[in-house]
């Protein structure tokens, strides 16, 4: 634990850097979390395996970069597609049977816990727990704005997150399928009465959320080193953003991402880094206890 504080006054540039960096990261965490809230909100499925599929996405981008020389950003469409398929399979094999249980939320939580262990250890068995990092040439450098340094990796990740979240939002609000998803969520009985195939909508929702996780994983991999068990840490962030932002609200989750990023940025400038995480998780715990619908929640 840190006993001494520097005598030098807090460098305003450092504070700005810290805040900017935090906000950029918040954006990427938001992309990581939106899919999770989607399945929770529409299907009452607590998909603990969300983050592990993000890690899988990071690995896919890694291997295509290392073995095939394909830039991670270019591999995103393929990653999204692959994870969409995998998500669909997971839905058919694991999620759909569980939705027949009495308490879907709890049942899906335990079942996806099992799924997480399966996927994490398959990855660990094949690819080993060595930490990996996506290192295309543009990530090691920084942008200099006056005295302020901004790493390029988070900038690109943020841009990616912005685009992906926007696409997801447009899908839900502008396309027919997307509106069907929304309808099912807002009024399950009504949706069925109107002729919407609940099973098909659930399949698409789940597969889409997994695909978004995969894309988020690529973004994370550009900034953070990853290995199979990092999914434990990423899952906590997913919980944090989804619950604080309000389950199912894409805008809520995105805004929460920025908020959390701000909190990370400011506290990292003043507290020892170790305490930043404790602070965040305590915050989540308090929100859970007193306002479980979240700050922006419905």
């Amino acid at each position: 634990m840190r006993e001494r504080d520097s005598d030098r006054p807090m460098d305003i540039h450092y504070l700005l850097e810290s805040v900017i960096s935090g906000v950029l990261l918040g954006g990427i965490y938001a992309l990581l979390s939106v899919g999770f809230g989607l399945t929770w909100g529409t299907m009452q499925v607590l998909n603990i395996s969300h983050a592990v599929f993000a890690v899988l996405g990071a690995y896919l981008a890694y291997w295509s970069f290392v073995k095939g020389g394909i830039d991670p950003l270019l591999s995103i469409p393929a990653v999204a597609f692959l994870l969409f398929i995998i998500g669909g399979a997971a839905y058919r094999l694991v999620i759909r049977p569980v939705t027949k249980a009495r308490d879907v939320l709890m049942g899906s939580m335990v079942a996806t816990f099992g799924l997480t262990i399966v996927v994490e250890n398959i990855m660990s068995g094949f690819w080993h727990p060595d930490p990996r990092l996506l290192k295309p040439s543009y990530t090691g450098t920084s942008l200099f704005i006056g005295e302020i340094v901004i790493s390029k990796g988070p900038l690109i990740g943020f841009a990616l997150a912005f685009v992906a979240i926007a696409l997801l939002y447009l899908f839900l609000h502008r396309t027919f399928t997307g509106k069907a998803v929304q309808a099912t969520w807002q009024n399950p009985m009504g949706a069925v009465l109107v002729g919407i195939n609940r099973d098909r909508v659930s399949l698409i929702t789940f597969a889409l959320s997994i695909a978004s996780a995969g894309v988020a994983g690529v973004g994370m991999g550009l900034i953070y080193s990853f290995y199979p068990s990092v999914q434990n840490d990423w899952t906590l962030y997913v919980f944090l953003l989804t619950i604080v932002g309000g389950v199912g609200s894409i805008i809520g989750t995105a805004l929460t991402g920025l908020l959390i990023g701000l909190i990370i940025g400011v506290s990292a400038a003043f507290l020892p880094f170790i305490w930043v995480n404790i602070l965040l998780f305590l915050l989540l715990l308090i929100i859970l206890l007193f306002k479980p619908e979240g700050i922006f929640g419905v």
């Binding site: 030098r8 450092y14 727990p129 090691g140 920084s142 988070p154 080193s225 990092v230 840490d233 020892p272």
Partner: protein, 400 residues
């Protein structure tokens, strides 16, 4: 005629004597089993790979030389992925199920810290790098550090640099410590904080981070914002690389970069290229040491891995096994109690130091070897008696 005959017989004997091979007979009998686990995958894969290389080199050498106590040697190496829980299970299995005769060193300190009490309970001699001072203060009699890796002795290294290599007027004025949150990092951190206080260097940044480090930027950014002249990444390998990359990425040029151990890994230069130079680290064995036995280590590394000289962890692995070999041969038995007592009874000449005597904790007298990466090699800069080059201070700026 008789004299001629006598001379002939004598000459024949001399001839026979001089052409007799220096090797003894091949080792025979039941192989001696040496067991334990290493993490060839996981967070410590890089270092472990070289340690295993050192073990293999030693096994090869001893089996060619006639074996240990005349018997061939066989290693049983389990894979623990750098995970303490697994390591404990495997070491226990090696001892109780495989019934190994001897135990080899695990890695790193976070694993040793659990294996040392295990070997104490089972009464097995454990020669390893240990787990820093606290682990040696538990009253264990079967654990030895030969050579040890003592983060607590980082002060020796830093005092050496400051007092012997840099004029006082040029000392760095501020320090930034980035410490990995484990027994290794914490031991070094405490030692360096003491030195900073004693030598009047202000510690502007003192951050501890949990492994694995996901992002080095915020940490390095803090050090940079404080313009710390002494920058100490007290890290393992991956995080050390990430921190160095981040420092270059934001054009942070401290006068001195003092690492825990990352530059001692050969992949350091591969990952960083030019940027890997001028990094200072410290260790307890180096390929350039002028003690007998090191040439064999270097030659084995060259042969097995095609490296110009033996990397630090290769030498470490070899030295641990060599120490084990010497005490077992010296004691003449596989009885661990006798081996242990023999090890404390006299002084030894090892490739890492001469006249080494183990105290009641199982440690030799404190020492450290400080190196600086110069043109891709870890040249010794301190102690001056073993130095192979002069320190490059202040560190040259990052090249584009």
């Amino acid at each position: 005629m008789k004299r001629f005959f006598l001379f002939g017989i004598l000459g024949l004997f001399v001839l026979m004597g001089s052409s007799a091979p220096a090797q003894t007979a091949k080792p025979s009998g039941e192989p001696i089993k040496i067991g334990g686990s290493l993490g060839l995958t996981g967070l410590f894969a890089e270092q472990s790979k070289w340690i295993k290389g050192g073990y293999d080199a030693w096994v090869e050498e001893i089996n060619q030389k006639g074996g240990l106590l005349g018997r061939p040697v066989k290693m049983i190496i389990y894979e623990d992925e750098g995970n303490t829980d697994k390591a404990v299970t495997f070491f226990e299995r090696a001892i109780t199920v495989d019934k190994v005769d001897l135990v080899f060193a695990g890695y790193p300190a976070t694993i040793n810290v659990a294996i040392m009490p295990l070997c104490e309970k089972y009464g097995k001699v454990y020669i390893s790098m240990g787990a820093h001072m606290k682990s040696f203060q538990q009253g264990y009699t079967y654990s030895f550090g030969s050579p040890p890796l003592m983060g607590d002795w980082a002060d020796i290294a830093m005092y050496g640099i400051l007092d012997d290599l840099i004029p006082k007027a040029n000392w760095p004025r501020t320090a930034a410590l980035l410490t990995m949150n484990n027994v290794v990092g914490q031991a070094m951190r405490k030692a360096l904080l003491t030195v900073a206080e004693k030598r009047g260097i202000k510690v502007a940044v003192d951050e501890v981070y949990n492994l694995p480090l996901s992002d080095a930027t915020p940490l390095v950014s803090k050090a940079r914002s404080q313009r710390a002249e002494l920058f100490c990444p007290l890290s393992f390998f991956d995080d050390g690389v990430m921190i160095t990359r981040a420092a270059k990425g934001m054009n942070y040029n401290p006068k001195l970069m003092f690492h825990a151990l990352a530059p001692a890994i050969p992949a350091w230069m591969k990952e960083l290229g030019e940027d890997g130079n001028n990094a200072i680290t410290f260790h307890w064995w180096n390929s350039r040491l002028k003690f007998p036995g090191n040439d064999r280590i270097n030659e084995a590394a060259k042969r097995m891995f095609n490296t110009p000289e033996a990397p630090t962890y290769f030498g470490f692995g070899y030295c641990w096994m060599k120490s084990l070999e010497m005490v077992v041969q010296g004691a003449g038995t596989l009885d661990h109690k006798k081996i242990r007592d023999y090890m404390r009874s006299r002084s030894f000449d090892f490739p890492y130091g001469q006249g080494i005597k183990f105290d009641e904790k199982g440690l030799p007298a404190p020492y450290a070897i400080v190196t600086q990466t110069t043109k891709g090699h870890n040249e010794i800069i301190w102690p001056t008696g073993q130095a192979t080059t002069k320190i490059a201070y202040p560190k040259p700026n990052w090249t584009k």
